[in-house]
Each structure stands twice: as structure tokens, then as C-alpha cells.
Amino acid sequence: MTEPRSNPPLPLRPRIDEPTGTPTVGHEWDGIEELDTPMPRWWLWTFYACCVFALGYAILYPAIPLLNSATPGLLGWSSHQDLAEATAREGVRQAPGRLAIARMPIERLPQDAVLMRAAVEGGRSAFKVHCVQCHGSGAAGSKGYANLNDDDWLWGGDIAAIHTTLVNGIRQPGNDETRISQMPAFGRDAILTPKEIDDVVSHVRRIAGTQKLDAASVRGATLYAANCAVCHGDGGKGRRELGAPNLTDSITLYGGDRDSLTHTIVNARNGVMPAWGERLDKVTVTMLAAYVHSLGGGEVLATPEGVILPVAAPEVTAGAAILRK
């Protein structure tokens, strides 16, 4: 055929394909024709079975979208309920471990590597919910919010001290055991003159090693001894029982530059933290303490000589054993 063809007329007459003996469906393109090979019977059965399955599925499970929801399905299955059940199952699975942590005295927790690890992981999750708003997702803090990764602790860095701080919070009214200290607002309350405050700033920066000895810092030393040393100590090393920070180290909560220090001395800072013992369950607070302690700056609990730590109850050991599995 030499003349150019436009669309061939359809349909062509079906014919029998010579080599296979199968009829063609009756159309061709560029000499290519399609055989009308009958499907094997099992294939049809499979197809019908799939149809039946789809129908059954659409009846049993939520399937057809309606305006506000979908058809509920005869089985009443829902993804929300599925999640709730999975969460409940996970709660049951974690129960022995949580029980063991609840019964373990906080001082002994770091000695049980398995429980400690479970507590740290639980604390990591709880931290992401309750703590990151101020302390940041990496617990690195920011100005006014403590970096929990470092080794500088205002109120103590062993696991029991961290736990106490967490349970009772900082400067929480109505909580007798809350961490509290109150630095006077030396400038606002006119205890020191601006010139004097400037001198104290020079002294504080000198003992922190960020400034050289000069006349102002010498004058500031005298003022420091009279006004500050009672809490921060003569050498500026701070006193934890008073919540007075160490002024000589490299870490400052509100900044170590002149402006920040001046602002701190003029107005005082007095930051706060909620008493988490009033808001969260006991185990979660313990887990948070373990997590914060694990971040790298946690201190070893100093146990006075001769004091015997309480022995873990048998249930605790059993719980830990379950957790170990």
C-alpha cells in the first residue's frame, strides 16, 4: 500500500489469525492487530472474588464518603478507636516499668542501669511536651532559661536535687519547699547608685575573667564585699543553698556582658519555674529528673558516709526484671 492513509475505517472485519487460530478484535494500527484471546477461567474467578471482597469490605468498614463523615461500616471500626486501643495496650505494656520507677527511691535510680535508661527515655518524651517551651528542644535554654546540658547548677545538679527543683518549682507561691532566693533590686530600690553599680559590674567581670583589674573593679570589690558577698561568697563562688550563682565561672543565666550585668544588678531577675509535682504524675517527674541528669552535666549524688540507702522493694526488682525483658 503506497498511498498515505488517514484514519483507517473502524471496525475492520474480525478475522482469524492464521498462526494462532485466534480471532482478532477487528482493529489494527500500522499493521498491528489485537488478538481476542479468551481469558483463562481462573482469572475471571479471581476477578469476581476481588469484586466480592471489595463489596464486603465496603459494607464492613468505613468506605463511602458522606458530607460529614463516611459510612460507619458494620464492624464499627474507626482509626480513632484503633489508636485509643493501641495507646491503652502500650500503657499496659509500660505499667510494670512505671511501677518499678515509682517505687524506686530517686537516689538509687542511677544505680539501676535498665530502669535509669527507661526513665531517661520516658523523660525525653515528657520533656518535649512540658519543658521545651522555655528550655528549648535540645535543653540548651536561652537567656533567662537555664541550659540543662552544662555543669553549672543553681540549685544542685545531682539527681535528687534536680528532682526537688522539678517537684517544687522555682519561686512558686504557696509551695513551702519551692526553690527561692531573692536578690535585691540594687538600682531600682536605690540601694546602690548607678556609679556604684557600674563599679560592681567591673568587679564581677574581673572575677569572671572577662575584664582586667582596673580602678573601677577595685572600687567594686569593696562594694561587693559589703553588698553581695553574703550570698555569692567572698570569692564570688556562689552558695547553692541560697540559690546564689557562681559568678566566677564561664556560665551566666542572663548574660555576662556589661549591659546584661547592669540590668541584673539594677532590677534583679528572679526567674520562675512551675512546680511540676503539682501538674504531672510522680513517675513522669522522676523521668524528667533522670533525663535532665543524663544530659551530660549531672552530678554524682554525694552520700554522707555511713548512711545506708533504702533497699529496693522486691516489687521494684520484679518490675525491673520485667522491663529487662
Binding site: I16, D36, P38, P40, R41, G138, A140, D150, S294, G296
Partner: protein, 499 residues
């Protein structure tokens, strides 16, 4: 059916399976199939029961796919998930191996070693043992239902189901300790997934091997299509030598007894065709074919090249005194040479050609490379990733601390103590989350349980003076006799700018 009838009838919606009653046959290919069937079935059923002592910290099953602990054991070799490329390499080798086999000897895999073929063959033998050979089977199929037929059918399908259940049952032993699981199965307290797997595999074995048989090869399996594309003129395949066989004739042949008969009775001359081929149209090749095809129609998708028609035809050729291999393994090229009266290449010479050589070299070099990798692989592994939130921490004495999440793999079946040290950072000290900076040193020791990975955080403190980013190398060293080392690069970050 005439073409007119076919065209006036509406096309059939479906085509029911044509029953196939393969006739029993004996011969060299049948015996080869027996041997391969025995070997493959034995490997399949026996392997999970082989024991291999790996000490107290690892399972003692020679071949075990341990999904629960993500380990794959195969005799002396243990594969961890990160070493899955060995499995990938073996799959690639299997693929190229199929290319090699197909280009050399055609669909040999289909004809002899494919599980579908092996189990179908087994089922066919069971059927033959109960119902008799081809003719008896046809007779039984046509017979009306009665107690005798029912009994035979129940027996046949019962045995098929037992074989199918044993097949599914053997499969699960590869994934758990076989004796333990067998005990649990007998007691009825095996995991439900075990019963489900047995159930599914029983069903597939029974349906695919017993009921669908050649339908799987012809309609379902992609291999025939792929292999058709890989065959070339040099590939050996089961071929009916038309130049020898055609034209077909019933009865008298050109052999000596026929000539004697013709001399004795000239009236037979009308039945004697001087040009008659060797094929006497006895249909033996069709009767034995497990897929029900006629090999004389040429190469086709239904031919799994099992060679049973060769056995059947050879027997007939011997009976009528003609040379064997009217149907035989030959290539298109050799067939052409033979048809024009030449001498074909020997099959061995056909095998060696650039294409098969290239496949073989690719196949073998992957194998050699994997063996080399396996022989030189280390059984200690260190992986360090720096903690990026926060990247650095200022310590109260002015030093800077970085934190690293360290994964150490101990891939030996015994607990090991390893040492992690750091180089590239002057004045640095290390401690783990179990330790404390007060007792930090230039290296830390970590205990790793047998055949497991330990994840620990390592804290590194260094003086604040130094580059903002210092490249460091963590070095792992096994502390026992067998030693072993590994390293991983990382970086130590210090606060930059005007801190």
C-alpha cells in the same frame, strides 16, 4: 472448528482449562528430573534441621532467618541487617545466573529446578500412583461419579493436601528454631503467624501444584516472557527436527523391515512414501508433555523444556529402528546447519560464546567480590553521629563540650570490651553517660553484649581555644586477643564569633 463458525459465534468470555493427563515415560531426562527433584526437595525439607554450633550466645540452627533479632544465619556466615548487600548480591547472582543458563541451555530452570515444576511433578506422580497412567486417568475423568471414583478423588486430594501442608510447614522452620517450633506446633501453642503461614502456603502449594499446574507457567509466570526474549539462535532448546521428521507418516517407514515388508507385499506401496520423514505421528511426545503442547509446532511459551518428549520420542525411534533425537536439545543455528546437511557444532562448543562468557564473567566476578568482602569484613563496627541539639555546650570552667551518639556493633557471638579513643583534638577528654567528667580520660571502655549493638552517648570536653570546627577521628579497638579496629570521622564544634 471452522473459521466461519468462529467468526459468527460471539467470542468466548473465558477459556476453561483443558485437562492434561501426562503419560508416564522413562529415559535419561526423566531420570535427571527424578534426581533434581529428589535433591531440591531434600534440600528444602532437611535444611532447617541441620545444626551448627555457634556457642552459647547465638542460635545453633545452620540456616536461620531470624526476623525477631534481624539476623540471617547460614552455616559459618552471619549477616546483619546492614550487610544485606550480601543478600542483594546473591539475588543479582541468581538473576545473572538465570541469564547465563537461559542463553546457554534455554529454559532449563523451568524444566527442572523451578519449584512450580518440582511440586507439580510430585503431584502428577501421586495422581498416577492412585489413578493409573494416562488412559486410566482419562477413563476415570469421563466415568460417572460413584463410590470408587469418589474414593480415588478423596485419596488423591488428601495426599496432595498432606504434601502441601508439609511444604508450608517446612517453610516456617527457616524462620525459627526448628525443633522448638515443631514441638510448639504439636502442642498447639505455636505463634498464630506460624499457623497462618502454613495455611497460606498449604493453599498455594495445593492450588498451584495440584490444580493449576501449567496454567501458572503459561499465564501467571513472567519468566517465560523474559526468557523468550533472552533466547537467541545459539541457545539450546528442545526442538523437533522438522527436516528429519516431515512429512509425517503412519505405519511403514523407510527402514529395513519396511523395505522387507514392501518386497513381500507390493500392495503396501501406496502406504509407502519414499519421502516420508521419521515422525510416524504416534503422538507420544504430546501424550507425555506436562503442559499439554505439541512440540512439533515449534518453540512456544508453553514449553518448559523438561525433555520428557525427547525420552518418549527416543523410545519410539528405537522401536522403529531410526536414529534417536528426532526431538532433542539443539539450537536454531545448529538446526539450520543440520537441515542443509552439514555437521552441527557440539553442544559444548555452542555453550562457549561471547554472550555466555560475558554472563559468566559478570556472575563470577560478583561472586568473587562478595567472597572477598566476606573474608575481609570486620566484626567490630563504629558509627559516630554528633549531637546537633545543642552542637556545643560551654562548661563552667570555660571548656567546650560536644556530645556524640556512638553506635558500636559487636558482631561476634561473645561479649566484648572495646575501647573508644579520639584523635585530632589536643587536650580532649572523653566520658560516657555512665561515667563522669571527673574521671574522664583520653579513651573510654564500653562493654558490648554478644552479637548486639550498643548505643551510648560519649561526651568530649576540650579547651575552648581552637578552631571553630575541628575534624576528629574516633578509633575503636577490641581489647581481647582477636582485637579488631574501626574508625569513624566526625567533628568537634566550638562556639564561633564573639562568644
Amino acid at each position: 472448528m471452522t473459521t466461519v463458525e468462529q467468526l459468527t459465534q460471539p467470542p468466548a468470555l473465558f477459556e476453561a482449562r483443558h485437562d492434561i493427563f501426562p503419560k508416564a515415560v522413562d529415559g535419561s531426562f526423566r531420570r535427571l528430573k527424578w534426581a533434581i527433584m529428589a535433591a531440591t526437595l531434600a534440600i528444602y525439607y532437611v535444611t532447617p534441621w541441620l545444626r551448627w554450633d555457634r556457642g552459647p550466645h547465638a542460635p545453633d540452627q545452620a540456616v536461620l532467618v531470624d526476623f525477631a533479632h534481624s539476623r540471617f544465619f547460614m552455616f559459618a556466615v552471619e549477616i546483619w541487617p546492614h550487610e544485606f548487600y550480601y543478600v542483594a548480591g546473591m539475588l543479582i547472582m541468581a538473576g545473572i545466573g538465570l541469564f547465563l543458563v537461559t542463553s546457554a541451555v534455554g529454559r532449563a530452570w523451568c524444566g527442572y529446578a523451578c519449584p512450580q515444576t518440582v511440586w507439580t511433578d510430585l503431584f502428577v506422580h501421586v495422581e498416577r500412583a492412585i489413578d493409573g497412567d494416562r488412559n486410566a486417568q482419562i477413563k476415570l475423568a469421563r466415568a460417572p461419579w460413584g463410590p470408587a471414583k469418589l474414593a480415588r478423588r478423596v485419596l488423591k486430594h488428601g495426599i496432595w493436601l498432606v504434601i502441601a501442608a508439609a511444604t508450608g510447614g517446612a517453610w516456617i522452620f527457616y524462620f525459627a528454631d526448628a525443633p522448638t517450633l515443631a514441638g510448639q506446633l504439636l502442642d498447639g501453642n505455636a505463634p498464630s503467624i506460624a499457623y497462618a503461614t502454613i495455611g497460606i502456603l498449604t493453599a498455594t502449594t495445593y492450588v498451584l501444584g495440584g490444580l493449576m499446574r501449567e496454567q501458572v507457567c503459561i499465564y501467571m509466570c513472567p519468566w517465560p516472557r523474559i526468557q523468550s526474549a533472552m533466547l537467541d539462535e545459539q541457545s539450546l532448546m528442545v526442538t523437533y527436527k522438522g527436516w528429519r521428521g516431515e512429512p509425517r507418516s503412519h505405519g511403514l517407514k523407510r527402514d529395513v523391515p519396511a523395505l522387507v515388508a514392501l518386497a513381500a507385499d507390493p500392495s503396501l506401496a501406496s502406504r509407502f512414501d519414499a519421502r516420508a520423514g521419521d515422525c510416524i505421528d504416534c503422538n507420544a511426545c504430546v501424550a507425555v508433555c506436562p503442559t499439554g503442547i505439541d512440540i512439533r509446532e515449534g518453540p512456544q511459551i508453553g514449553c518448559i523444556t523438561c525433555g520428557l518428549c525427547i525420552d518418549a520420542c527416543d523410545k519410539v525411534m528405537a522401536q522403529i529402528g531410526r536414529p534417536p533425537k528426532l526431538i532433542g536439545y539443539t539450537s536454531v543455528a545448529d538446526e539450520r546447519i543440520a537441515a542443509s546437511g552439514g555437521v552441527p557444532l557440539s553442544p559444548l562448543k555452542r555453550l562457549w560464546r561471547p554472550r555466555t562468557l560475558a554472563y559468566f564473567l559478570a556472575w563470577a566476578s560478583i561472586g568473587v567480590a562478595m567472597l572477598f568482602a566476606l573474608g575481609t569484613r570486620t566484626r567490630l563496627d563504629l558509627s559516630v553521629s554528633p549531637d546537633r541539639n545543642p552542637t556545643w555546650v560551654r562548661l563552667s570552667d570555660g571548656h567546650v563540650r560536644n556530645t556524640y551518639v556512638v553506635n558500636i556493633r559487636n558482631m561476634e557471638n561473645r561479649p566484648r570490651t572495646v575501647e573508644v579513643a579520639l584523635s585530632g583534638l589536643p587536650g580532649a577528654v572523653l566520658w560516657t553517660e555512665a561515667g563522669h567528667r571527673a574521671d574522664a580520660g583520653t579513651s573510654v571502655r564500653v562493654e558490648i553484649p554478644a552479637d548486639s549493638a550498643a548505643r551510648t552517648r560519649i561526651f568530649v570536653a576540650a579547651p575552648s581555644a581552637g578552631p571553630e570546627r575541628a575534624d576528629v577521628i574516633f578509633r575503636l579497638r577490641g581489647l581481647d586477643k582477636s582485637g579488631g579496629t574501626d574508625t569513624d570521622d566526625s567533628a568537634f564544634i566550638r562556639p564561633g564569633g564573639g562568644e
